[in-house]
């Protein structure tokens, strides 16, 4: 196991990633603070004292996290940086786990704390200037945790993009997702058309999920949920590991 996972090496790697990228992370947080400040100010000027923070947190959390995940392996985007990164005495599994750790656990905790502090300061300023009470950011809100759950799955796709694309990982990942969605829709429409051919001829109403359930005992919705919540992320992490393993300069 020492060849693949060693806690000391892993913690050294996480320390290296955090310390060498701290400046970039602070710049991203600074930019996000600007966006949050802008949207919150507009909302406060419109006297929206409630329901601002949770959607604002959810959207900025998701966007920032996916940008961060896309840039996780940015050392591999630059030839000179990739020499140092790939010859660093750590395993590929540690390269994967370190980035997973940073883009999930560290990021989630940091962002929640950061947003909580930012929202508290913004509320205090807004209350001072408008003489109204603004609703505090509720960390326990179900939308907050649902967003985090979705992020944990979606970030795996962006992490895979970060390890796969040699240039522009964020736009290329988005483009790939777009193309993959179109292909999936076309396949679904094709299947649907094939199944419904006879039925359409006979003018019978057709519903693919209920047809699959009736005919083959396949619960389409359940399968989709299992694939999304339990299979997609581990699959992407595994492929990310393979991509790191086969990475050359």
């Amino acid at each position: 196991m020492n060849h693949y996972l060693n806690i000391t090496r892993l913690s050294n790697l996480i320390k290296r990633e955090v310390l060498t990228n701290a400046k970039a992370m602070l710049i991203i947080l600074g930019a996000i603070s600007g966006v949050v400040l802008f949207i919150f100010t507009i909302s406060a000027l419109n006297k929206n004292t409630h329901g601002t923070h949770v959607p604002l947190f959810a959207s900025t959390f998701m966007v920032t996290g996916l940008v961060l995940s896309s840039l996780a392996y940015r050392d591999l985007l630059n030839k000179n940086k990739s020499y140092a990164y790939l010859t660093l005495p750590v395993s590929n599994l540690e390269r994967l786990i370190s980035m997973l750790f940073i883009t999930t656990l560290i990021y989630i905790i940091t962002y929640i704390v950061y947003y909580f502090l930012l929202s508290t300061i913004l509320n205090a300023f807004a209350s001072y200037f408008t003489q109204q009470d603004f609703e505090a950011f509720d960390v326990a809100d179900t939308i907050v945790w649902k967003t985090i759950k979705i992020y944990l799955v979606v970030q795996s796709v962006f992490l895979l993009g970060a390890a796969s694309f040699k240039k522009f990982p964020l736009p290329l990942t988005l483009l790939t997702l777009f193309v993959a969605s179109i292909i999936m829709v076309l396949i679904a429409v094709g299947i649907m058309a094939a199944f419904t051919y006879d039925m359409r001829l006979n003018d019978i109403d057709f519903n693919l999920p209920s047809y699959l359930d009736r005919r083959y005992g396949l619960d389409f919705e359940r399968i989709s949920k299992i694939v999304f919540w339990y299979l997609l992320a581990p699959f992407c992490w595994f492929v990310t590991y393979l991509k790191l393993k086969e990475k050359e300069v």
Binding site: N2, K15, L19, T20, N78, N80, Y83, A84, P89, E94
Partner: protein, 283 residues
Amino acid sequence: MIEINDLTFCYTRKKTILRDVNLNLPSGNVYGLLGKNGAGKSTLLKNIAGLLFPTDGECKVLDYRSKDRLPDFLREIYFIPEEFHLPALSIKRYVDIYSSFYPRFNKDQFSGYLEEYQLQPSEKLTALSYGQKKKIIIGFGLATNCALLIMDEPTNGLDIPSKSQFRKIVASSVTEDRSFIISTHQVRDVESLIDPIIILDEGEIIFNQYFEQVSKKLSFEVTPQKMNDDDILFSQSILGGYSVVMENKTGIETEADLEVLFNTIISDPKRINQIFEDTDNEN
């Protein structure tokens, strides 16, 4: 320590960079890897370091397959490319972060190099000149005390005093269980340092010999006039005469000039290797 068997490397199907390279390099030497531009030197070094994977054949360092890039292998090699990146950290911070990956890293040794280079640990790496950065990365590589230090054009960007410092610190770092591979075009900078000499041409190893053997088998002379003799392997015009290389038939050893040696081998590798093989067979 390094075992390369039938290594072939292609970037594309049509372009073969290395062809059936076989090398067996024991530890305790400073190998000089020489070759013309595009001969495949950097590609070979990257294959050894596990940064590129062989298309065919294999490359092993300390019995580890380079392409596996296992941590135990990576902690025993340090690769200094010609162009490199150093993060926006102070020298001290850089050492604190990166030295933890190398179990035999010696901070006192590194501090000694900093003193020699007249650099302060508090200095920001990004504020240093290219030459100063190069000194830092070379000093760091030496202080890792890893088994194999690979340097691609290490003297590029170093000023004249720094080149002497470089030779001094590398020479003092050689031990029986440690090796260096220096790839360079600046043969004068490392002439006194490298032994044996490996010459790569058009993706193939055309020469791999120790200086001792070179001096025994080849004779280097300077003549005032151009000589036309069948024994002359190579001759080139220099200031005040001609530098001539001949087969050493007298047994009197002359000092080998690395640049002239390189040109001699490149001009007719078959004939030179024949001389070395003939003498090997005689022995």
